[in-house]
């Protein structure tokens, strides 16, 4: 008997004899149905296994880093960053370091910062973080990275040679990367990041527009009242007052913080965050009232509530506003946008003389060493080299950023020196002993936008924030219990 043709192919009948015409064919409707039903079963099984995988695989994620992935002999350090303005200088420094040590340093740029931030989080989950990277997050998230084993404790390295490395930095720059004993995040005390540059956020004023409005360009306003008066004069001259990227809510948060410290002092601010002082307190109403004053006086640039900082920088650089609220990085930005811009830095005008004004500042950007990296020692050596005097001066001159190394201050441009002088009056939520709930911060910043557009009063906003705060506190208590 001939071997029957079992191949379910349309070619089967083409060359077969009559005898073979009666040969079995497997594509009758019944067979197709059987096949489809089985296919369904296989598919369901497959999907079911995926369900099981998705729900039960999570326990395996704590497994240790796959060492075989990294080549221990590789003389290559990979660094992830988001700083587009520093990319070229970083590449140049990487070339210098390779020429010096033979170790290849690869800077990988991922921008914009939002996308970078997501990439780092995803890499942390997948345990594919590079040897060195930066974190764009608050202290709470930074602590999570450390607890998950993604950041090396550099305290010992910093302390070597009587703390030579540590002492070379501005103390505020180190503070942002430091976790003190008994910190509320439960992180082992230590220094977990290396500051590359520092920054602080102050106010800038346009000297040419000051002259045009009949103001003294060498005497910027120092008190809130002087500031409002200057604003009135500018308005009369048809010049817009203050411009800032208040469409990005964190800049509003920064402005609020400055005046909260100035009006009620550090302790009361912290007490509010701890939930001991309500946001309906008169001092807080006064802080929110400042925004109403600015709006009522017509001192704010048109569209400030939806303006991103890049646009605000353009407005100031193109002389469309006399004041800007911006960080020290703006020196580089204005240099690129309008090299001939005549401007100066000024400390935000104070409302009260009772408490000092504290501005946001500290480490501008920091690099973290991946604790699971096979090249951890090499990475630390590279960061030591990068933060040494020569490299810091080179980096600062090339990017117009404040160096993290305090020994280099004498070698930077005048305008940057003005920023540097105020480094001891800086603070940052990341160094505070307490952290506000993100929901409260969001409502506060968005609420200030509402005050500026005349939708809410400072009192209404205070009550609204307090209500959110109470909700969050209740949730936190419930979680603790």
């Amino acid at each position: 008997m001939d071997r029957p043709n079992f191949r379910p192919s349309r070619f089967a009948n083409r060359n077969q004899s009559n005898k073979q015409a009666s040969a079995p064919r497997f594509h009758s409707p019944t067979q197709n149905m059987v096949f489809l039903s089985r296919l369904k079963i296989y598919t369901v099984c497959f999907i079911f296994s995926l369900v099981c995988l998705s729900f039960f695989s999570c326990a395996q994620q704590n497994s240790s880093y796959n060492i075989s992935k990294a080549n221990p002999r590789a003389k290559k350090i990979t660094i992830w960053h988001w700083m587009t303005d520093r990319e070229e200088i970083f590449q140049e420094l990487a070339r210098k370091y390779e020429a010096l040590t033979g170790i290849r340093v690869v800077f990988e740029l991922y921008a914009p910062s939002d996308a970078y931030s997501q990439k780092v989080r995803a890499a942390a989950q997948a345990e594919t973080l590079p040897d060195i990277y930066g974190i764009l997050a608050d202290k709470r998230d930074f602590a999570s990275f450390i607890k998950a084993g993604h950041a090396a404790n550099l305290s010992q390295e910093m302390a070597k040679d009587n703390g030579a490395w540590s002492n070379s930095f501005f103390s505020k720059a180190i503070a942002v990367n430091e976790f003190l004993p008994d910190n509320k995040f439960g992180v082992t005390p230590g220094i977990y990041g290396v500051p590359i540059d520092v920054m602080n956020i102050q106010m800038l004023y346009n000297k040419s527009l000051f002259k045009k409005a009949g103001l003294d360009p060498n005497k910027p306003p120092q008190t809130w009242e002087e500031f409002l008066q200057a604003g009135r004069k500018l308005k009369q001259a048809g010049i817009q007052g203050l411009v800032s990227g208040w469409g990005e809510t964190w800049m509003i948060d920064c402005f609020i913080s400055n005046y909260a410290f100035n009006i009620m002092g550090e302790q009361k601010v912290f007490a509010t965050i701890r939930g001991e002082v309500p946001y309906t307190d008169l001092d807080w109403v006064k802080v929110f009232g400042l925004f109403k004053q600015l709006a009522d006086e017509g001192m704010l640039a048109s569209g400030i509530v939806t303006m991103i900082n890049k646009n605000a920088e353009q407005n100031f650089a193109n002389e469309r506003a006399a004041f800007a609220f911006n960080g020290s990085w703006c020196v580089n930005v204005y240099e690129g946008m309008n090299p001939g811009l005549e401007y100066g830095a000024m400390f935000p005008p104070s409302v009260s003389s009772k408490y000092p004004m504290m501005i946001w500042g500290g480490a501008g950007s920091s690099f973290i060493v991946n604790d699971r990296s096979q090249n951890k020692d090499e990475a630390v050596k590279f960061l030591k080299w990068l933060t040494a005097d020569a490299q810091q001066i080179y980096l600062s001159r090339g990017t117009n950023n404040l160096p993290a190394n305090k020994n280099c201050i004498s070698s930077i441009p005048d305008i940057l020196s003005e920023f540097a002088k105020k480094m001891n009056q800086t603070t940052h939520p990341n160094v505070w002993p307490v952290q506000e709930f993100p929901a409260v911060i969001e409502r506060m910043d968005k609420g200030v936008q509402s005050i500026i557009i005349g939708e809410k009063t400072p009192e209404e906003l205070s009550r609204e924030i307090q209500s959110i705060k109470e909700n969050e506190l209740a949730k936190a208590r419930k979680k603790e219990n």
């Binding site: 008997m1 029957p4 079992f6 379910p8 009666s22 079995p24 497997f26 009758s28 019944t30 067979q31 059987v34 096949f35 089985r38 296919l39 296989y42 598919t43 497959f46 999907i47 995926l50 369900v51 995988l53 998705s54 729900f55 999570c58 326990a59 994620q61 704590n62 939002d114 931030s117 997501q118 989080r121 942390a124 989950q125 997050a137 709470r140 998230d141 999570s144 990275f145 998950a148 817009q240 469409g247 990005e248 640039a301 048109s302 569209g303 400030i304 509530v305 939806t306 991103i308 469309r320 993100p438 929901a439 969001e442 968005k446 609420g447 936008q449 509402s450 500026i452 557009i453 939708e455």
Partner: protein, 327 residues
Amino acid sequence: MNWLKPGKKKIKINPAMTDKIPETAVLKRKMKIARAKSYLENFSFAFPAILIFSVFYIYPFLKVFQLSVCSWNGIDAFSFGKFYTGFTNFKEILRDGIWWRSMWHAAYITIIALTLQNALALALALACDKEIKARNFYRVIFFIPPVLSEVVVGLIWQWIYDGNYGLLNYALNNFGLSNLIHNWLSDPNTALTCVAIVHSWKGFGWGFIILLAGLQTIPRQLYEAAKVDGASSWQIFRNVTIPLMIPVFVLVSILTILGSMQVFILIYTMTGGGPGYHTEVPVTRILASMVASSRFGYACAEGIIFGLVLLVLSFTQKKISERVKQV
């Protein structure tokens, strides 16, 4: 002779071949093997598609469900048992006024798109369906906005709407309408409508192309017959074009609803959700929960609720359209 039929049917054996029973048993076994091979072969063809679909669609979908019942910050090593919180996130969303407000904003943008955008698309499609000069040129022109990057469109329109140096205010001033000049995107009364108009401008090209394709499938003889019967242009449009275009309208409407409800990039580049919460839409809220607040579980729960709303909307739209078609 159906001796090789699959399934549970008994094999019929020719009595003349009873002496060859052992051979038939061998054959039966071979058949089984061949059938298994056949199934495996067929399954192997489908497997890559199933695998890709499962890994990139089903798995993330299930993962979102899993995360939605957890309170996880997106950084800590994930452990279901440790972060499980039940339906707390869903309960919280039900009480979250800003979330539902963002949903209304998306609905508002969708309503503008369904009316303004689709009316414009239909009008232009009808115009291009006629024998007019340079209609191919117009087709290309009308399809330019959808081809442009949303970020670019957002930034250009942001400049047009700018309160100080915007083209719109400049034009209003030149036309003697200076009383209308203001910052369009920072005014809570106009911000959302401005974004909705840009969204409609950006999206009408898709509707235009689909509607034009639909119009071209209508047999010309029907129009000619209607004309011979003395029907006016409006009667032809109402009694010939509209009934035959209903399936296309359904498709365009569903695509418009899904696209408009998920508007994000335009909002992100033009207003960032501000001023206040006036242009927040569900996707910006999901992003805020995930990135600003590090609440991945809550963001996933928001995503699920949003997905369900879209599903319900699409089904409702389909049902209504079917009913209209029957009428």
